[in-house]
Structures are given as C-alpha cells and as structure tokens.
Amino acid sequence: MDLIAATAQWLADPLNWQGPNGIPSRLMEHVALSGVSLLVAALIALPLGLWIGHTGRFSWWIVSTANAWRALPSFAVIGLLVPFTTVIDPDLGFTLYPTLVAMIVLAGPPILVNAYQGIAGVDGELVEAARAMGMKESQILFGVEIPIALPVLATGLRLAAVQVIATATLGATFGFGGLGRFIILGDANRDNGELFGGVVLVAMLALATLGAFLLLERRLVSTGLTRRAAG
C-alpha cells in the first residue's frame, strides 16, 4: 500500500509537472523519439514489405532475416551501437543516437513482416481478376492489395509502436531523457514513488498508443472486410 500511496503522491506533486525535468517535457521527449523512430522505420520497412509482398521476390530470406532480427534484445542493440555512434559524435553518440538507431532497427521487422504477409495473403484470384479488368500494377497495389491487407499492415505498425515506446525507456540508461529517466532516478535515489510513477507513465503511454492505433484502424478499414457473412 505504501508503494501505491507513494506513487500517487509523486504523480500528484505539482513540482513534478514543471520545468525541463518535469513529466510533460519528459513525455514529449519520449513521444518525439518514439514518433521519429516509428516514422523512419515505417518509411524503410513499409515500401520494402509491400514490394516483396506484391512481387513475391526475395520473400524467403528477407522475412527470415527480419524474424531473426526480432529476437535481438533491445538493450544489447543499444549497447552494441555505442562504440560506433560515439565515433561519429562523442556527445549525442552516447545518448540519442544509439537509442534512436536501436528503435528504428527493432521497429522495422514487425512492420516489414506484416506488410509482406498482408499483401502476400490477398487472394491470388482476386488480384488476377483486378488485372483482368485492366488495372495496372500500381492500381492493384494501392486499390486492391493495400486496402484488403490493411488490418494486417496496421497490426504491424501497432506492434512496432508499442515496442518503440518500451525501447525508448531504455534510452535513459544511456543518458537520453524520456520517461525512463524517472525510473533510473527513482532507482538511484531509492524513491519508489518516482520509480513506479515512471513505470505507470510508460505503461499508460503504451496503452494510449495502442488505443489510438485501434481507433484509427477501425476508421480506415472498410466495413466490407470487417462484417461477417451474408445478412
């Protein structure tokens, strides 16, 4: 009970909601870093996954590599990157860059694999019927395959987003800000209120992101795909 009370007290303290080390600015750091890495990962992985799915080329080894990639522990990836990024920039190379690169690297595979599987899973007869009606390949991709694969594509983005938010927390270990900062500091200062306050904030951010993605999916996916059976 002490823990809950301490956490609530920490969260309720107006001092913790102010200044460059306050909750709003840490939250913004966290969201910005997560958003940028998700965007960069999507810009790389989405077109690649769509292309592999549409053409069927290189599917086996790209998807195998991507799946093996998923098994990499985030913490190890950040640690491994530090020696390289510090060479490029001794300051940010220790803080921002390794975390950012690790997040991009880890967000890519779920986006890529789901994009590939979503597109490859579209009924071949349907694609052929679309081709037979005189749709060009790009029209088939954007007008048939992507809309039909959208639920699967969105799941990949959603998984990646949640993973990115979790990984951003680890960035604090390497001197980057974000909500993970409270967990590190709380641990160092033996302040359980701050430590678990940080944990609660990260968890809520992850849940809010999940909810936002689900709402967006519901808006974007055609009702023709979500309805069941003849009425």
Partner: protein, 337 residues
C-alpha cells in the same frame, strides 16, 4: 478499331489461329494448349468444354493476356491481341470467374463501376451506368448499390459479377465457370437469365465449363477439348451430339446424347401430319422441348399428342415415332464443316 473504342460496337469476332501454350523448355516442355484453331462470329456464345486439365481456362486467359501464347495468334475483330496495349485490351473485355472476384472492401456500386472509373468516366455517368446494370441483372439499385459483397448471397454476387463485366459495354466477354459456385437451382435460374440477357445484348462470349449439359444449354458453338490441350471437336451443340468426332467426344458427351439432343429441338421444329383437335390427348405448345414431350407421352401411355401453333390451334399429331425420326434426320447432316 475506332468504332470499337468508342464502345458502340456491341460484339467482336474472335479467332484462334494455331494457338499453343507450352510450359518449360526442351525435354521437360509440356503443352497446356496445343495448336488450337477456331472462329467465333460476333454475337455468338462459344463454350470451351472438357475434363479438368484440358487447357480450357488457359485458352480463355490467353485472350486477355493473363497468359501469353507460345505460338499462334488470337484475333479480336481481326486484330492480334498481342499487338494492343494490354490494359486497354483488358478494359474492353468483360471477365467473369467462378469465385466472382468482387473486391471485398468496395460496395456493390463501386465494384460495378471499376472499369468505367479506370476509363475515366464522370461520376454521374458511372453511377447512372451502375444503376442501369444492377437493374438489368435483376438487383434493385436502391437496395444493393451500397452493400458489400460479404452481405450478398452466392447468386447475388454472381449477378453483380456479370453486371461488372458488362459495365463498359465490352464487345467480348470471357466467362470461366461463372455459375459453378452456386447450387443447381440458382445455377439454372442464372443460366436462363443470362441467356435472356444475351438475347438483348448479343455480345461475343467465350465461356468455359466442365459440364457438358451447361455447354449444350449455353453454347451456340461448342469446342470440346481433350487432355493435352487439343481441340477434339468444334461445332454446334446439335452436331456434336449427333456426330461425335471421336470415341473421346462420344464418351464425354455421354451415352444419353440422343436424349440431350431432344432438349435442343422444340415441337415447332417438327414437320407433322396435320391433325384436328383430339380431346383427351395431351397438347404441346410450339416451345415445348422434344425431351419434355417424349416424357409426357411415355408417362401418359398414349400413342400421341397434339401440337399447337402460336395461336393455340391444333397443328399436327405428335407421336413417339415422329420424335425418333426427328433425331434420325439430324444424324444425316454433316457435323464438321
């Protein structure tokens, strides 16, 4: 060509000249379609029929170049399809398949309007055409245009599939087992409706089925194909039934091919001895199929019945013998020109 592209020409002629499709190379090459030649006049339904694996679907898909022939030419209104722009070619050819291929994320209205929208028609013209076509295939536009394919029955989906294929008024339709996925009662109704529709539209149609009864019912011309993608026989349904060109064809059309022929001939086709009204005997309208007339005569256990003319007046006396001799006459004609 220019006439066809404006969409006013209603039907195109279709010719296969020595069309061959081989897969693989050298020793391992095997033929899916072998030296296929036949001609379909504009406005006729030609049915490709044969056992599975005989290359009928491959032949169909070579027309709109989903598959490209290894040798030979396919001419649409005299123009080799391989010389045309492939997307423009496909937009002028209606395509209906067994699985229908309706896009699940689009409404019925949007599905029907796919080709018109690809061709850049205005929104008003698209929706007017969509409503016209839905009515044509017996679906109330008000009720159906906003529905999704998942909300339709199998028969309704198939109608939408036909409406979609007709959308840009194509001079040629390709239909691959279009009615195979629905139950027999719905299939029969769809076939009848389609024949009625075709009577008005007079499109050139290449139709694939494995069902000889469907081929006989739907076809003005039948191309029977056999294993190895060879054409076993080409001709009218009656000539194929009356004069099978080989044992394979005879076996494929069935032992009951005589009875099948009776479904192709009506009472009006018979030349009969004049007859007065004969109370108590069965009567047959001019559209009665000989198969049904024979069935009535056998069941009623009478030697004959009275054929009526269009006005319902007695025209002649129909006997089992008269029906049998009508079949015999057909047998005398030449099957393969």
């Amino acid at each position: 060509m220019t006439v066809r592209e404006t969409g006013h020409a209603r039907a195109a002629s279709l010719e296969f000249h020595g069309v061959t499709k081989r897969y693989g190379r050298g020793e391992s090459a095997h033929g899916a379609v072998n030296d296929l030649s036949f001609a379909v006049p504009a406005g006729a339904i030609c049915v490709l029929v044969g056992p599975s694996g005989c290359g009928k679907t491959t032949s169909l898909k070579m027309v709109n170049r989903l598959i490209e022939p290894t040798e030979g030419q396919i001419l649409l209104d005299g123009v080799n399809v391989m010389t045309e722009n492939v997307t423009a070619l496909r937009r002028r050819i209606g395509y209906v398949i067994q699985q229908v291929g309706l896009l699940p994320h689009l409404t019925v209205g949007r599905n029907v309007a796919i080709v018109p929208s690809l061709m850049g028609w205005s929104k008003q013209r698209q929706s007017a055409r969509t409503d016209e076509l839905l009515s044509l295939v017996g679906l109330d536009p008000e009720r159906y245009r906003g529905r999704y394919p998942v909300q339709l029955s199998g028969g309704e989906r198939q109608r939408v599939g036909v409406a979609r294929a007709l959308a840009a008024d194509p001079p040629l339709m390709l239909m691959d087992e279009p009615f195979a996925a629905v139950d027999p009662i719905v299939r029969e109704r769809l076939q009848d409706e389609f024949l009625r529709l075709q009577h008005e539209l007079a499109k050139t149609i290449l139709f694939v089925t494995h069902d000889i009864d469907e081929a006989i019912k739907m076809g003005d011309l039948i191309a029977v194909m056999e294993a190895g993608g060879r054409l076993a026989q080409f001709g009218s349904p009656d000539s194929v039934l009356a004069h099978p060109a080989s044992d394979f064809v005879a076996q494929f059309v069935g032992e009951d091919r005589g009875l099948k022929r009776l479904s192709l001939v009506t009472i009006a086709d018979l030349s009969l001895e004049p007859s007065a009204a004969r109370p108590g005997l069965p009567t047959f309208g001019p559209g009665t199929k000989l198969r049904d007339a024979l069935s009535v005569l056998l069941a009623a256990d009478t030697s004959g019945g009275v054929a009526l003319d269009d006005a319902g007046k007695p025209r002649g006396f129909v006997t089992v013998d008269a029906i049998a001799s009508a079949l015999a006459e057909g047998r005398g004609t030449v099957a393969n020109p």
